[in-house]
Amino acid sequence: MHIPDGFIPLWQAVIYYIIALIVGFYSIRWARTSLDERKVPLLAVLAAGIFAIQAMNIPIPWGTSGHMVGAALVAIIIGSPFAGFLVLTTVLIIQALFFGDGGVTALGINIFNMAIISSWVGFYGFKWLKPVINEVPAVFVAAWASLFLAAIACAIELSLAGTFPLTLGLYFMGLYHAVIGVVGEGLITTIAFLAIKGVRPDLIYREEVGSHG
C-alpha cells in the first residue's frame, strides 16, 4: 500500500504533508503531556520492533502473502491513536528515506493512510465496538477495518491524483485488502492481543484505571 513517488502531483502531496504535520504536532504534544513521564524513547524502540514485524511474511490462502501494518495493535495496546501515529510515522520515514518503500514526496500521503487512518480507525473501532460485541471480536474487526479503510483511502487518493480510475482502484485495492486484512491484520492482531494479555496483561491499557496496570 506504500504509494511511491511520482504517482501523486506535487500540490496534492503538499496537502497530505500539511495534514501529517498537524497531526504530528498534536501527537508530540500528547507524548509530552499525557504519556506518563514522556515515554518517547519507549515508542522509538517499539517502532524498531514494528519495523521488523512488517518484514514478516504472513501466508494468505491462494498462494499470496501479506504483511502486517501494526497500527491498530500499537494503538489498542498503548491506548491512544497518537502512539500508533508516532510509531508508524517513524517506520514510514525510515522506509521512505532508506529503503525506497513508499515515496519521499508521497511520505505525507502514506502517513495519512497508514499512520493516521489506520491508528484512528483501529483505536476508535476497538473502543466503540468493545461494549457492543465484546473485547476479542472488537480487536478483530477494528484491526481489519484499519487496513481495509486505509486501502480504500489509497484507492480514492490515486483516483483524485488521476493515476488510477476509482472503480477499478476500489475493486483491486478494496477487494485485495479486504481479504488480506482478514488474516494479515485481523487474525494476527487478535492472536497477538490475546497472547500479550496472557503474558503481560499489565501492558494493555485499561480505561477503567486510566493508565497502564
Binding site: 513517488d5 511520482g6 517502532a47 519495523f51 521488523a52 518503500d101 519521499v104
Partner: protein, 263 residues
C-alpha cells in the same frame, strides 16, 4: 528490505568522493532530484536524470548489481499501476485485444512516464542510502532543523532496527531448525498463523521491554523531555558546494533546454 539490511550499511561504509560529502548536501540533492522528477512531465528529462544518477553511482563505487537489485525489488507495487495505464486510460486506440481490451497511446505514454519517474526516484533513494549511513542522514536532518523529538525518535529507532532484525532472523532460524515452514500444507493453517502471531508478539514484547529499559536508563542518566542529541559541528567544504552547485546547474539547464526545445 529484501536485500539484507546490513548490506545497506556496509555499502554506505565504503570510501569515495560521494561518500565523503556532507550528509546535509546529499540529503538536499536527493530531495531536489526527487521533487524535480515528480514535477516534470517529460520522459527524456527523466532519462537524463537517471543517467546522471548512474554516473554518481559509478563515481561512488557502489556495487552496480547491488543498486540495480534494490531498485528492482522495490518496483512491483508502483510498476503494477504503471503497467496498467495503457489499458485503462482513454485515448487514441493503438491495438484492440480480444475481450474488448484496448491499448491507448496516451495510456502507454503515461505508463512510461510513471515508470521512468519511479525509477529515477528509487535510484536517488538507493544512492542516498548507499553512500550515507542511516544515522548520518538523521543527524544531518537535525542540523537542518528537524524537530528535536523527531530526530531523537528516528535515531533511537535506527539504533534498534538492526537488533530486531537479528532477533527476527534468530527466531526464524530456530523455527527452521524445527522444520517450520509457513507454506507447509501438512500442518493446519490456523496453527501456522498462530506461530507467526507468536513471533510477532515476541518481537513486540521484546521491543516494548527493551524500550522500557532504554527509557529508564536514559532517565537515570538525566534524560528529560527537553534533552537534545549531541551534534558534532561540521563545516560544509568546497567539494560540498561544488557538488550541490553542479547538480542544481544540471537540473536548471535540463529545465531550460526542455523549455526552449520541447515546450
Amino acid at each position: 528490505m529484501h536485500v539484507g539490511i546490513s548490506q545497506i550499511e556496509s555499502e554506505s561504509g565504503k570510501k569515495s568522493i560521494i561518500h565523503s560529502l556532507d550528509g546535509r548536501i546529499k540529503l538536499i540533492i536527493t530531495l531536489c532530484i526527487i521533487i524535480y522528477a515528480v514535477y516534470t512531465t517529460k520522459i527524456p528529462v527523466l532519462w537524463v536524470m537517471e543517467l546522471y544518477l548512474l554516473v554518481l553511482i559509478l563515481v561512488s563505487k557502489v556495487s552496480f548489481s547491488y543498486a540495480l537489485k534494490r531498485v528492482l525489488l522495490i518496483l512491483p507495487f508502483g510498476g503494477f499501476i504503471a503497467l496498467f495505464q495503457p489499458f485503462i486510460r482513454p485515448g487514441v486506440v493503438l491495438y484492440t485485444l480480444p475481450l474488448d481490451i484496448t491499448i491507448t497511446y496516451e495510456g502507454t505514454i503515461f505508463g512510461i512516464l510513471l515508470l521512468s519517474r519511479l525509477i529515477v526516484c528509487l535510484t536517488a533513494v538507493v544512492l542516498l542510502s548507499s553512500v550515507t549511513p542511516i544515522q548520518e542522514i538523521v543527524n544531518s536532518g537535525r542540523r537542518m532543523g528537524f524537530p528535536r523529538e523527531l530526530a531523537l525518535i528516528l535515531s533511537l529507532t535506527i539504533r534498534y532496527l538492526f537488533m530486531f532484525y537479528d532477533e527476527l532472523e534468530r527466531i526464524r532460524n530456530a523455527q527452521k531448525t524445527r522444520c517450520f515452514d509457513i507454506w507447509n500444507k501438512k500442518t493446519s493453517y490456523m496453527w501456522r498463523l498462530r506461530q507467526i502471531a507468536y513471533t510477532i508478539v515476541m518481537l513486540f514484547l521484546r521491543s516494548y521491554e527493551q524500550g522500557e529499559k532504554v527509557y529508564f536508563s536514559m532517565l537515570s542518566r538525566g534524560y528529560s523531555g527537553e534533552s537534545d542529541m549531541y551534534q558534532e559541528k561540521k563545516k560544509i567544504s568546497f567539494n560540498d558546494y561544488l557538488f550541490i552547485v553542479l547538480t542544481l546547474i544540471l537540473i536548471l539547464s535540463i529545465e531550460l533546454i526542455r523549455h526552449f526545445y520541447f515546450i
